[in-house]
Amino acid sequence: MGHTVLVCDDAIFMRTMIADILAAAGYEVIGEAETGAQAVQKYRELKPDLVTMDIVMPDMGGIDAVREICKDDPDAKVLMCSAMGQQALVVEAIQAGAKDFVVKPFQPSRVLEAVQRVLG
């Protein structure tokens, strides 16, 4: 069975797209979250192998969510989804415990490369 993934983004569009890319490659998307707070809660419930995390979300942003998740589980594998020009935020996210990042607009091959790197 493929690895399980939790997809966090406040835009349905982005969630759908990421989920499609991952599903096509054999990963199992077992949950979605549209706020940072939800992401933390769902991580606790679902214990996914991987989390994709948007940076800017309402009700706790992605960086704080990473921090929370990694506090519970230092081995959590979180992949940040950032936009161009968010270098400082991505740096902060990595310091908070994120394991890798991809930059929007997404190229499926890039996303999958990053996912494979993180799941190592």
Partner: protein, 638 residues
């Protein structure tokens, strides 16, 4: 040889060593079996002794020598370290610190130093006698076991403690692929991967530089690791988008010294002067640019532009040279917290984060005192005694978090405890009694609470915590931070804890600002607090409580009509007036002005507000045309 010219260097370097001593002592106290802190302490005290002796400060050298003896006895296994030894060493470090300052003014040590010297000697003798009766077996070597975990080696793999120092050092250079996105973040990932293999040091550029969009993709660092170079190479490449990795066995200390020579120490006062000159240059540049704008001489325009760019570059360089990691201030706190916790009978775990974040030296210096106030408050009034905490279902050990983070053009420094929180009802009652709030008020919001606490003279000590005697000093904190053009935020919840957030600008000297007109007057609003500008008439008006508010993206933002607030006659009455939305933390307010006059870099001039002047201003400046203008304090307007 004229020693006087080395005095400043002696002082600054000695302080660095003593600062390190404090850190090492704390690490050692946490884990008395660790050997790395003892070694580090020994080296630091030894260096200090040598310097003091060279300078002819004999009593200072003598005290260092005795402390070194004690450390050497522990190091050599002739003395088993006990809690009283830590106390003795902490006191020695304090005394040495004091002695360093006094020595340069020609004074000897304080009287206490003599008793300290005796106590150190006695401790060594007692310990050695004890060790002798226990037989030749070292007190230390045998029992150190696998638990050895020094402060710096926390991240190192479990290897035996002695082997740790023998692991080779590798100099690593990484290049991120030029076409990679967010190269700084990618470089950081590679660094994080490497850190899993060993102890990383000498990271160039600093991690905070990786946030810059113009980061060139090259990162170098040194790693002490048991892993083979090929392994290090593979792990770094696993970060992805890595174009090249070069790994060399680090050459010995000699080369280290050679690279160190490329740095020189500069007197801070000299940097201050440079900064001031750069500031005046900016003002003169602004004037020149204005003149050139009105001129038809193409050569003047060209020279104006060139000078403008050059001045910008000079200013940026000087600013850069003044940036200092907040660690310099944060590093004091483990010791402060330890001492306070002990004196007040609390158990406190201090967590520090964001020490790499950089701030202008002058801002950092100004922030240090308010931080000490807040940390002291957190331990004195916030964190409960262990027994009360356990009764309340908390851990006996309280948590104090000190963190720094970068936000656009400012830095947020947070002091958060998980203590009892501020008692709103008591403050409310007191504030009602003092007539500070409406007698009908039922509760206080966090920002109201902060405003009341920061009124000087508001007697809080007895009210907040039952600990009487010392005032809380929130007013002091507030005043200092506001003078910096910063803002203070308070979040507190009964039983859960209290957090203060200090937001300060990255630098004091030069501030990008928006120039606005109200009536015939011009005012300056620092840009780092302006989140957007809109037009008054184009925005729906609503009411928020009894205040007028604008609806901005479905959120009501209260308005402040500056001509009313500042009592300016002849202001335009209606029509399409511009509005500045200022934001400080979560709070926003919409400033209605008569006209926006454009951006300008201003140099903040020291400002002593006359008594009775309303507190809407944080400073003054000279504009490009030579006229003075007041700087509006965003924090006071939201």
């Amino acid at each position: 040889m004229d020693l006087a010219k080395y005095a400043a260097l002696f002082v600054s370097e000695s302080r660095e060593h003593l600062q390190a001593c404090n850190q090492l002592l704390l690490a050692w106290e946490r884990d008395p079996e660790a050997t790395a802190p003892v070694e580090g302490l020994f080296r630091a005290v030894h260096s200090l002794k040598g310097m003091a002796a060279t300078m002819g400060f004999t009593p200072l050298a003598e005290l260092a020598h005795r402390a070194e003896n004690l450390l050497d006895a522990v190091r050599g296994g002739r003395l088993a370290v006990k809690p009283e030894h830590f106390e003795l060493l902490f006191r020695s470090v304090d005394e040495l610190e004091d002695g360093v300052s006094r020595a340069t003014t020609g004074k000897g040590l304080r009287a206490e130093a003599a008793s300290l010297v005796k106590a150190l000697d006695a401790a060594v003798k007692r310990g050695e006698r004890g060790a002798a009766t226990r037989g030749a077996k070292g007190a230390k070597g045998a029992e150190a076991g696998e638990g050895a975990k020094g402060a710096e080696s926390a991240k190192a793999p479990e290897g035996a403690k002695d082997a740790k120092d023998e692991r080779p050092s590798l100099d690593v250079k990484i290049t991120v692929r030029p076409d990679a996105l967010l190269r700084g973040a990618r470089a950081l990932l590679a660094l994080r991967k490497a850190e899993a293999l060993g102890a990383v040091s000498r990271v160039t550029p600093q991690v905070s530089e990786l946030e810059r969009e113009d980061f060139d993709g090259r990162l170098a660092f040194r790693i002490r690791t048991g892993a083979a170079p090929s392994e290090v190479d593979a792990v770094i490449r696993s970060a992805g988008d890595i174009a090249g990795v070069a790994i060399d066995l680090a050459s010995d200390e000699a080369t280290v010294d050679a690279t160190a020579l490329r740095q020189i120490r500069i007197d801070l006062a000299r940097l201050d002067v440079l900064m001031k000159l750069a500031g005046e240059l900016v003002v003169a540049r602004n004037r020149l640019v204005e003149l050139a704008r009105g001129s038809t001489d193409p050569e003047l325009v060209q020279v104006g532009e060139r000078i403008s760019r050059l001045v910008g570059a000079v200013q940026a360089e000087v600013l850069e040279a003044r940036l200092t990691p907040v660690r310099e201030v944060f590093d004091r706190f483990p010791r402060v917290v330890r001492d306070l916790a002990r004196d007040l009978g609390r158990q406190v775990r201090l967590e520090v984060e964001g020490g790499d974040i950089e701030l202008d030296r002058a801002v950092l210096d100004e922030v240090a005192d308010p931080l000490v106030h807040l940390v002291r408050n957190a331990i004195d009034h916030g964190i409960e005694p262990p027994r009360d905490r356990v009764k309340a279902g908390k851990t006996a050990e309280g948590r104090l978090r000190l963190s720094a983070s970068r936000e656009r053009n400012s830095v947020a420094i947070r002091v958060a405890d998980d203590g009892r929180g501020i008692d709103r009802s008591k403050i409310l009652a007191k504030a009602k009694a003092d007539g500070l709030v409406d007698a009908a008020a039922e509760t206080l919001a966090d920002d109201q609470l902060l405003r009341i606490l920061s009124r000087s003279g508001f007697s809080t000590a007895a009210v907040v915590s039952g600990v009487s005697g010392r005032g809380v000093g929130v007013d002091v904190v507030m005043t200092r931070i506001r003078q910096l053009g910063g803002a203070v935020e308070l979040v507190t919840e009964a039983g859960q804890g209290t957090a203060f957030v200090l937001r300060v600008p990255l630098t004091l000297a030069i501030v990008r600002s928006l120039l606005v007109q109200v009536g015939a007057e011009r005012y300056v609003v620092p840009l780092n607090y302006v989140s957007e500008t809109i037009e008054f008439s184009a925005t729906p008006v609503t009411a928020l409580g009894d205040r007028e508010a604008l609806v901005i993206r479905e959120q009501p933002v209260p308005t402040v009509h500056l001509h009313r607030l500042l009592n300016i006659a002849g202001a335009a009455t209606a029509g399409r007036r511009p509005v500045l939305v200022v934001q400080v933390g979560e709070r926003r307010s919409a400033l209605v002005v008569d006209a926006l006059l454009g951006q300008q870099e201003i140099v903040v001039e020291p400002f002593d507000a006359p008594r009775g002047m309303p507190g809407w201003f944080s400073g003054a400046t000279i504009l490009a045309d030579g006229a003075p203008a007041l700087i509006l304090d965003a924090a006071a307007l939201v």
